[in-house]
């Protein structure tokens, strides 16, 4: 008899049989459905007067950006952007003007590229007398300065500089809103999923004690080894399934509504300082895949707490506290090792700026990127936690 299979199904039933699971799942579903469209809800107001709905405003911007998609970020596009922006009045709130909406809206990302690359101010760019070579030189200069100031090792700085040299230039502009929303929502979705896992899995072991079912389980033939495995597998299955469903909904809505265009948009253009040679589409896939692995680790962590503390409220409190601290505490870059360890913990790491930052992991003189090594570390840590919890469960005594 495949007992593990039956035990596994019953363990899943125990987790999903609770009302709280369905309430939390419904909230997550609503979040996934609402997130891609949150910016389109409501209206745009100017001095208390409704100018347009956010949706119609966005539609104009989207059409403009789509028209520019696929063009090189070169002199021709820069000049178009500068010309468009020169028509915008030189006022504090220039983005609220009719001229901005009419001429410059479509170019805001191109214009942003020029500004962040060169460091020039609004009024300086309007008197533009530079060319693309200047933009790229300044960009390189600023990125190199940033790398020097980021408490990186000499090896890392060389690695990133070499990487930047290898990137194809000029970069190409792509309309990429679907991916931008996916990356922008990433941290929020991750934190909420962590909270979900904390709530749903904190009772996996502890509830057996609270329900007083622990003695009959432990006195059964398969009550130790197989039950432990079934519980852990069920917990992982529930958390990863919910996360995958949520991710699929989010990807489908984003790509469905905003179109899949822009997959190849370079991450280094999107992220000013980074010199990554991957696209924004690849970054989305990497981020959401790592999220699943991080959830496996976090699920095992919460279940280990549940077993060690034997109290679901205590396990929930500890895990939620870590989630909150992960989002709140930021260790200064100057404390390189501690800062890196903290930022690579699952509760901190699932933020795009941590996942794609410049700190690497050295192996035999090679710089391994965080998203290449962190999933392996997470799998390794998951196994260690699994062994600890298993040992603890095997030794459990109904005192």
């Amino acid at each position: 008899m495949n007992n593990i299979g039956t035990l596994y199904r019953y363990e899943i039933k125990k987790i999903v049989g609770k009302k709280l699971f369905w309430i939390m799942s419904a909230l997550l579903f609503l979040l996934a459905v609402f997130t891609p469209f949150s910016n389109l809800v409501g209206s745009y107001y100017e001095s208390g007067e409704k100018i347009a709905s956010n949706l119609s405003f966005y539609k104009e911007e989207q059409a403009g950006k789509m028209a520019l998609s696929g063009r090189a970020l070169d002199d021709e596009l820069f000049n178009e952007a500068i010309t468009a922006y020169s028509k915008v009045p030189d006022v504090f709130n220039y983005s609220s003007t009719e001229e901005y909406r009419k001429y410059a809206l479509a170019y805001n990302e191109v214009y942003g590229f020029i500004r962040t690359s060169t460091g020039l101010k609004f009024e300086d760019i309007k008197n533009w007398d530079h060319d693309a070579t200047y933009v790229y030189e300044k960009r390189k200069e600023n990125i190199y300065l940033y790398l020097e100031d980021s408490f990186l090792t000499d090896n890392e700085i060389k690695f990133w500089k070499d990487n930047y040299e290898k990137l194809d230039k000029p970069f190409t502009y792509y309309y990429h809103d679907a991916y931008q929303i996916l990356l922008d929502s990433f941290q929020t979705i991750s934190i909420i999923l962590f909270a979900f896992v904390s709530i749903v899995l904190s009772g996996v072991f502890a509830n057996e004690r609270q329900l007083k079912t622990e003695p009959i389980i432990l006195a059964s033939k398969k009550g130790k080894k197989e039950t432990f495995m079934a519980k852990i597998l069920a917990g992982i299955t529930v958390s990863v399934s919910v996360s995958l469903i949520l991710s699929i909904i989010l990807f489908s809505l984003c790509l469905g509504y905003y179109t899949p265009e822009g997959f190849d948009y370079s991450l280094t253009v999107y992220f000013n300082a980074a010199t990554y040679d991957i696209s924004i589409g690849e970054a989305c896939i990497i981020a959401y895949l790592i999220m699943q692995i991080a959830l496996v680790l976090f699920s095992i962590f919460v279940m280990t707490l549940s077993e060690v503390l034997k109290n679901s409220v205590a396990a929930l409190s500890v895990s939620m506290l870590l989630v909150i601290l992960g989002g709140m505490i930021s260790i200064p870059q100057s404390f390189r090792a501690i800062g890196q360890i903290w930022d690579w913990l699952p509760v901190s790491y699932l933020a795009i700026w941590n996942m794609f930052d410049e700190r690497t992991f050295p192996i035999f003189g090679k710089c391994i990127l965080s998203w290449q090594i962190v999933p392996i570390i997470y799998i390794f840590l998951s196994l260690i936690l699994y062994m600890i919890a298993k040992y603890k469960y095997k030794k459990v005594s109904v005192e």
Partner: protein
Amino acid sequence: MELVIDRLSKQYGSKIAVDRISAKLGKGVYGLLGANGAGKTTLMRMICGILKPTSGSVSFDGIDSEEEDFRAILGYLPQDFGYYPDFNAYDFLFYLSSLKAIPKKEAKAKINELLEVVGLREVAKKKIKTYSGGMKQRLGIAQALLNDPKLLILDEPTAGLDPKERVRFRNLIEKLGKDCIVLLSTHIVSDIEHISDEVLIMKDGSFIFQGKWNDKESSLEDFYLSQFEEGEDSE
């Protein structure tokens, strides 16, 4: 078929809950009597292998109580029987059959048989949280019998049962005692008198009596009550 308890002790800080108990039990029904706090539940938990003893050991035909093979022959009804409120009786028993490694087909037949025996067949698909105390206790008895145990440990099995159910249960235990070792604890002396082959009386973590009560002149109830009185006098 022999259950060997060898110098079994359990100590919590300075309090000795079970004090170097030794016994060899063969086939039959053993009634375990003792006041609250005498150490009955602690002893039963250690026999089941779910409570780590401070010292000593328990084995069944040479199989140590910590081994999976020991748990394979064990049926256990804890004093405070826990259940999953949202499971129905059938699901609950099927889940426990899986825990006991009973093949699916065999489990289904056994569950139906036991539901009939404990009188829960009609309500098998109802959620356990809707059951009365007596129904839950009967479900607990059924789960302990799922794997046709050779060693059956029942911690106050008749608690919550009405007189009719108690009589039915006593008959069942008597029948089971012919093929396996049954150790049951209770406060109801008449239950023990009716079905036990041997009586074990515990006080302060030790056996103060072990054997067939028929050998004695006074009634078991009087002796049991006198132990309570002694305990109160000494306090």
